[in-house]
Structure formats: structure tokens, C-alpha cells
Amino acid sequence: MPRVGVFLCHCGTNIAGVVDIPTVAEAVKQFPGVVYVDDNKFSCSEPGQAAIRQSIIDNGLDRVVISACSPRMHEITFRKAVSAAGLNPYLMEIANIREHCSWVHSDNKEAATEKAIELVKMAVAKVSLHQELFRKRISMEKKALVIGGGIAGIQAALDIANAGHQVILVEREPTIGGRMAQLDKTFPTLDCSACILSPKMVDVSQHPNIRLLTYSEVEKVQGFVGNFEVEIRQRARYVNHTTCTGCGICWQKCPEKVPGEFEEGTGQRTSVYIPFPQAVPSKPVIDTVSCRYFKYLDFIDKKMEGKKPPPCRICEKLCPPQAIDWEQKDEIIRETVGAIVVATGFKTFDHSVYGEYGGGRIPDVITSLQLERLMNASGPTLGEVVRPSDGTHPKTVVFLSCVGSRDEAKGRPYCSKICCMYMAKQALMLKEHDPGVQSYIFYIDIRAGGKDFEEFTRRAQEEFGVLYLRGRVSKIYQDDKKLMVCGEDSLIGRPVEIAADMVVLATGVEPSEGAAKVAQTLNISYDTYGFMVEAHPKLRPVETNTDGILVAGACVGPRDIPDSVAHGGAAAAKVIGLLSQDTLTTEPLTAAIDASRCTGCLLCSQICPFQAIDMVPANGKSIAVVNEGLCKGCGLCVAACRSTAPSLKGYTDAQILSEVLALCP
């Protein structure tokens, strides 16, 4: 008979305020195997843990139930506490009476107490069947993968590389730099964005420990912390980057012009292009969709009717080192890495769903990122802020906040955090560009929480005369050359109408295209909007639920540049900590297969998502054997086997049934 000790945590009043702990303690004493019951104000505190350690030793306990918060919160803490008393850490079970009981049943204390008793009963029944488990050591590949080359990814890559580890930085676009590269100035210091970012981009390209893969995407990830096997698709650029010198003749001479993604449609790029002059690498790619030669090839291939497009190939003829390579193919790069940082960043909300603001059909209603490009000295207008419709300088500019933020009707109830600040910055900068500009900002609230933020928005109002109007805009329509902006100033309680030359929509933040797909490739969680979910929003903000996979920057939620940099650095610190170890210990909650029951049907090895089951010959037949290094303990094989040969340590059929039987005797 096991000797079970039960420790009931009050968690201050979090549990004890709802669950009647003395009643639970009385009831628990009656459960089979329970020889010791104690309660503590905070079991996770040092005195609480010391009490657990001491009681295990004093009472000769060989099983422990901790009735407290979620095991997802403190399982590791309590395993350590149990371990410190000389007991195997896996002889402990947690009854979750906080998240699953006191916090959700505060409206019925009696029922909550009754439920807490049963939850402890289940844990006691289960822990009685626990066995000692031991962690194993596995090797560690001292290399990291960073997905996304925005400021968060750049920071993470540089920090890891500076610590002496190899880093592979994968970026989908032809250049690193991300959103920050598109910006003109940064709030609240008005630093020139490119001036502070470009040196970091160059550092990345020149760092001996960083392998930069642009125009690439991570296709497949297998394995586990310490040994992730990744497949990266390097898309064909049709330019040989080894021979290309980046002289620029090809993109100067290319005759095909299309709207540039980097310019947010405010300017054009050629078919062979680098996104912007400071791009890293500063070597071009050919966009096969718009390239005349590719259109020509497509025309021939599909035997299309009509006028044949010209087989242009001007870039090839003019390229001095003959770096154009039409035969180039996508390449699959395979790497093994110990840790992965996800920094896939954000995109801005597509405002075409706001029909009342023109839905994208009024040319002088632009997005904040488009204004950013217009204000930028290296932008399409060389820093001249002009109206897209007629090229004149706008004198009255209206900003609309919360376009795709704080709007339940558009499915975006969250605050995008950065818009209030960048609107203040842009309104201020407009005045610097042209003192004759009057800016109006329609806002719901001015959210300026941050160092020097409030002072900055004040400055925009007081020094630069930006007029803030509290209220939403109901309609924008074109009236000859003017844009009529109809809204309400809710502070004076009157409708207002402004004849504007240009309207800027402060479009909100959402996860970048394909973020959910990246999360699925990595098997990490993401929320309904597609933002990555941290392991714990407060205490583990850069970790995910998958060991060895970290998140950084705006892929987790809206955040500004300093936060993204800090986040990237924090993720890097976690990676450096991991990679500083020569070996890793594995979780022993793995599957094991009873050789005497195995019929060698192979079903388990087919179903296993981690290829962790090998077939080995034994007694003239093949039987399944689990590779504990690869097994992640999902238990799929257990449920699939027809002859109940596999069992999952920590979650055996007997253990699960013991919980069921504790509930329904």
C-alpha cells in the first residue's frame, strides 16, 4: 500500500476563499492510502515547499498529491520540491483546484468544495499507480533557427550569434528589415528608422556565425528541442547571388514596372528588383509573375492565343557578370538546429472592409504605412508628401484612429497599441515637412502608455497644433477635389464635417500572412486572430508550449520597436541558455511497448507522428520498440493498438481508469 501525503494549498484566498479547506482535509483523510494531510497558505512559497519536503521525510511518504493551481503552472516547481526530499519527482500528482475549481465556481462554494474533494480523490487514486521515472540525456545541436528577419528576428539572431552559436536566419522577403525598414521616423524620439536599422542589417549579413537565407520559407519541422530537423525552401531568384555584384544595372534597365510591395503601392518597382536601396542582401530577385520573359515562356507553354509578349531578357543581356540564371530552381536546405525563434511579425489591417471610408476606392484616403513611405526621403516621392490623385501638397489632413482595432464589428476587438503614437508622430512630422499643414486626429482614447509617450502626444498638440477630436468618423466622400470627413466630436456632442485634402487611416496590427501556417508547421498554439500564444503571458512571455521554440516580436501581439527588440533579446537569452548545455534531459513520460503483447502489425509505427517507433526482429517476428529520444508522449500508439501492447508512462489505461473509478465508484 502506498503512503500518500496530500498537501492542500490555500493560495491566499484564491482557493481558500471559495473552497472550504478544513472540510476537504477531513474528507481526504478517508481516501485509501492517504496517511498524511496538511494545508498551507502558499505551497509554492519557500516555507510551503520546505513543509512539503519535511513532511515527506518525517512521515515516510512515497506518493505526494498537491492540491493547488494548474499543473501547467507549477508542476515543475513541485517536482523539484518532491525531488529535494529524495523522492522520485514523478511520484507526485497535482489536483487543479484553483483554475478548474475555486476560480470558476466562486458562485457556489458548497459545490466547489465538493468538487475539490473529488479532484483530490482522483489525484490520490492516480498517484497510487505512479511509478518512478527517470530522465534520459540526449545530445544538443548547438545551432539556432530564427524565422523572420524583422527587427525582433534580427536582434535575436545577432544576440545568439554574438554568444558564439551558429544561427540560420530565414526571411520570406528578398531582404531583411521587416516593417521597421518601411518607416520614416520612430516615435517618440524621432530617430530615423533606417539610420538605426541599417547597421544592424549589415551586421547580420557580415556576421561569421549567421547564415542568412532570404526569399526562403520554413517548410517542415520535425524532432524536438535540441534536435529539430528543418527543411527550408530557398525560392528561385533567377539571379546567381554568388556572381551578382549588386551593381544595379538590371533593375535600372528592366522595362516592366509594377506597384512595389515595399512602397505599399505608393511607388513602383521593376520585375527584377531589390525592395529598397539599403536592402540586405543588396542583390536582386526576379518576380516571375510580372517579368516579361516569364510571361513569354508561359504564353508558349500554354499555347495561348493572341499577341505574343516580347521575350525581353534585357537584364540578361546587360548584366556584366552574367548572373541571370533562368534555369534556377527552388532549393531545399536541410538543417538540424537545437532551438527555434519565431519572429514572423505583423501586417496592417486591410481597410477595404470599411466601406464608409471608401473601402480603398478613394485615392487620397491612404493608410498610415503609405504615408510613412511618402514621408520617407528614400520613398517614391523622395520625401514629398503629395496626394496620390493629383500630386498636390495636402494642407488639411485628417487621421482616423482604430481602423481595424477596437472594433468588434470588424472582428478586431483588440487595441493595436502603436497607432495612437504613430499618428501623433505622423501629424507632427507633416507639420515639419510643411508648416502650412493642419492635422486633425479622430480618436477613441489616446493611449500613450510608455516612456516619454504622453509627453510626445502633448507636444504634438501643444507645439505642433494638431487638433484631436474625440469620436468616430461615420463617412468619407469625395466632393470635387476635397474629401468630406463626417464625424462626431463626442466631447462637444456635435457632428463635425471637415473638408480634407488627404485622409490617413491608422490601420491596426494583425499577424503577418501565413502566421498560422508557420504555427502549424511548428506545432505551437496561436489564438483566434493568428497571434502566437506564449507559454505563460506573464512569466514565460517568449516561450511556447513546445520546448525549444520561442517567440519574439509582433507575432505574439501588437508591440512597438523597443518592445520587439527587448523581446527578441529575451528569446535569444533563452536560446543561449539552452545551447550552452552540452546535453539535454528528456521528459520520461514516453510510451513503452510490451514485447510479449506486440503482434508486429506496424499500426503504431504508421500512426506515430514522430517516427519514434522502430520495428526490430525478436523471436522470429518483428516487434515495435519505442525510441525514447524521439517519443513525445502523445499516446496515439496506445489508443491505436489492437492488442494493448503500448502504454504511456504517467497516463496508463490503469491510471486514467483509476481517476474514472474514483469519480464513479
Partner: protein, 137 residues
């Protein structure tokens, strides 16, 4: 004398990564829901074999719920797809055994869906309540 309302006994088998975390989220956000459900934590909804569900009903559970990650989001790549297929096969069989439709439910609740978890529990508890007590097989 007032007749005490029937309080069904409901067992929920939840995957650790999404639904269990979603139930935690409901707690952290202090969303209240009926206290009838008792949660058994499993690594993955794909760990649930029908035997466990039969056993729960056999022992007198009034309702059984399995909840995992949304299709496509499984922490173990595709465990929830196996769960979905396996448990879809199970449902008609439960009816054949005389366990009414509605007493068993498969749900997808993600780690961020605390609200959904509380709604799912409230709805399921109502359904099982309306079906009444079941007793041991």
C-alpha cells in the same frame, strides 16, 4: 419539500495543450460555469480510446466529453484527427448500447478559448441535465 435538482456527473477528457489550457484560461479569467464537470488531463485527445469512454458510462457517468485542439492545431501534429475519426465511429455505437445521443460530446477548445470552454460546459451540462440520470450499466 422541494425536489433537489438533478446534478449530473460529467467527465471531461482534455488534451493538455489546448483544452486543458483553455479550461485554465477560463479560471484565470474568472468565468463561472456549472461545477458538474470533472476534468481528466491527457496529453492528447488522440490518447482517448473508446474503452475509457465505455468504462466511464459503465461506471455511471451521466455525460462524457472529449476536448482537444482545433483540427490542424494539434501539438502532436495530427492526434486530434485520429480522435475525431475514432470518436465519430464511437457515437452510433454508444446509441446502440442505449446511451442517448447528447451524453457524449467531442469538442475543440484552444488554449486561448477560456470563454468557449465555459460555454461548452454550460451547454453540455444543460443537455445532460435534460436527459436525466443514467445509472450504471
Amino acid at each position: 419539500m422541494s425536489v433537489e435538482e438533478f446534478q449530473p456527473r460529467i467527465i471531461g477528457f482534455l488534451c493538455n495543450w489546448c483544452s486543458y489550457a483553455g479550461a485554465d484560461m477560463a479560471g484565470t479569467s474568472r468565468m463561472t460555469y456549472p461545477s458538474n464537470v470533472r476534468i481528466i488531463r491527457l496529453p492528447c485527445s488522440g490518447r482517448v480510446n473508446p474503452m475509457i469512454i465505455f468504462k466511464a458510462f459503465q461506471q455511471g457517468a451521466d455525460g462524457v466529453m472529449v476536448s482537444g485542439c482545433h483540427p490542424g492545431d494539434c501539438h502532436y501534429v495530427d492526434g486530434n484527427y485520429y480522435a475525431r475519426r475514432r470518436l465519430a465511429m464511437l457515437e452510433p455505437f454508444l446509441e446502440y448500447l442505449g446511451i442517448e445521443k447528447g451524453r457524449f460530446q467531442l469538442e475543440w477548445v484552444s488554449a486561448s478559448e477560456g470563454k468557449k470552454w465555459s460555454q461548452v460546459v454550460a451547454r453540455f451540462t444543460d443537455t445532460v441535465k435534460s436527459l436525466g440520470p443514467r445509472g450504471k450499466i
